[in-house]
Amino acid sequence: MTMSSMSFAAAIIIFCTGFFTLLTGRNLFRMVIGISLMEGALLLFIITVGYVPGGVPPLLPLKGLPVNPLPHAFTLTTIVIGASHIALALAFVVRIHSSYKTLDVEKIRGLRE
């Protein structure tokens, strides 16, 4: 297996794990952990897209064939955006806990029908 394929596979597996966590976790924190895992997997995925076998980091002066720098710029942005999502989600969790006194997502269903 090449580096890329391993990396892609790992990214997809982690993404699915994260999605599974999001879906089955009844605790709000666990849902946020799921989101966090998904974000991480996505980052890995994007980085792998830009990977070139045997590449060097995109720093001048170049010491060989560099990897694609564009996905790195992406990923930086994505990391920050993902972190914002997670921080926001956690803030919501704290707020929900202060009004519902529970972290069980099945009990947080004031809005329905």
Partner: protein, 488 residues
Amino acid sequence: MTPVLVILIPLTGAFLLPLLQFLSRKIIVLVVCLAGGLSFLGNIWGACSGWLRPTVHLAGGWPAHIGIALIHDPLSSPFLLLAALGFGSVLICSFDRTEKFSWRFHVLLFLSWAAVNGILSTGDLFNLYVFYEIFSVSAYLLVAFSTMEWQAIEAGFKYLVFGTVGAMFFLFGTTYLFLFTGYLNMARISEALMSEPGLPVFIPAACFFIALSIKTGAFPSHFWLPDAHSSAKSLVSALLSGVLVMVSIYVFIRLFSVVFIVLKPLVFPLMLGTGSLSLLTGHLMALRQDDIKRLLAYSTVAHLGYILIGLGCASAAGFNAAIYHAFNHMAAKMGLFLTAGILASHAGTRKISELSGLGWDLPFVSILFVLFTAVLVGVPPLNGFMSKWYITLACVERNQAIPALLIILGTVISSGYYLRIIRRLFSGKGTQGTSKDRGATWYVVTLMGVLCILLSLLPLFPVFTDTLHILGNWIMDISMYKDLVMIP
């Protein structure tokens, strides 16, 4: 002036406000008004210039495939106009006496305004994602703004979970397209996908479809929408239903008519199906609601269905009809949410069964309410009827019988539930006598009523038909867009 200023003005307004927080309220209000007015003018200017002479701004001076190109073209210009109207009215409403003044709210408002303008202007897929995230994050927060209400927090969290999943799929789609083509510019990607058949383009298409249907609130992922739109403050609900949802519709049009042009026969029927199901679900759920704002929120789901059906026809007529309907829905739904807010605050409850007799207390507002419902139901000479009729025409033209029948069914169901509210409003006797409280919201609602009537008058002018024609052609014929982006 360039497209970038249209984004930059509201953004600067948002960045500036925290610096002024300890100054007197008057100055803050002045700055807010100034920034709002400038942003409004900017949007109008963007819309006009985009319509008359499509403009491209290359950020940093780099060509589109290296840097980021911002484009105002005939497709973005109606949406820019829509954003200007929606945000402008909400800004005016936020000065209402009943609203607690908070500069942070205006920060969020300006941020989402900038994000909307960014989405409408950008020609770059990743940039679109970034602006989409500003937009989403500020939308979650706008929903949760009234922090003391548990509903708002819960709705905000649910919206956030859905929106985050949507964002991830959006990014997956972007990454796949980058993997396939090496570009991020939409026109370039489209070109590259056309020249290289055999790629599994359906996977990014599915990712984008999922992401956008989540962000729009279309059928299988509409669950957050009624929660969010009903729990927020009335003016935020108006903004969400009127403008923010339509921005996702814009992205739908842009992506699937430019980037995924190779998948046209696959994706658009899917959109038709999603639209039909949203229509049915929204109307049927609205039928049983007792909370007036929740009912309106479900009706938004249904109207998204109408718009998606229009898009799903994948013809110039369908796109035109959908965009026209987006405008009509904006005017009427914003008006409805605001009037519902006035009525609910007057009655002290949002339950429809307890709104009895309010029609006599607030006659003007109630009559406007009736007007807006008539627009949404589609009473003949009004604009809602016109756009629904255009959508039906487009459906029939494409031999889509079921959506066309569903549109008719939706009209019947929606007139059923709106009549229930109206009946309740005018039943019994008023309690306090005629109220003459005229806040800022009152004026905005009046404005929306006037807007509805103006929109109804539009089809009387042949220019309007020509305009729609140009718009439809622009969407259908993407070579013009590609030329615009790729030459400089």
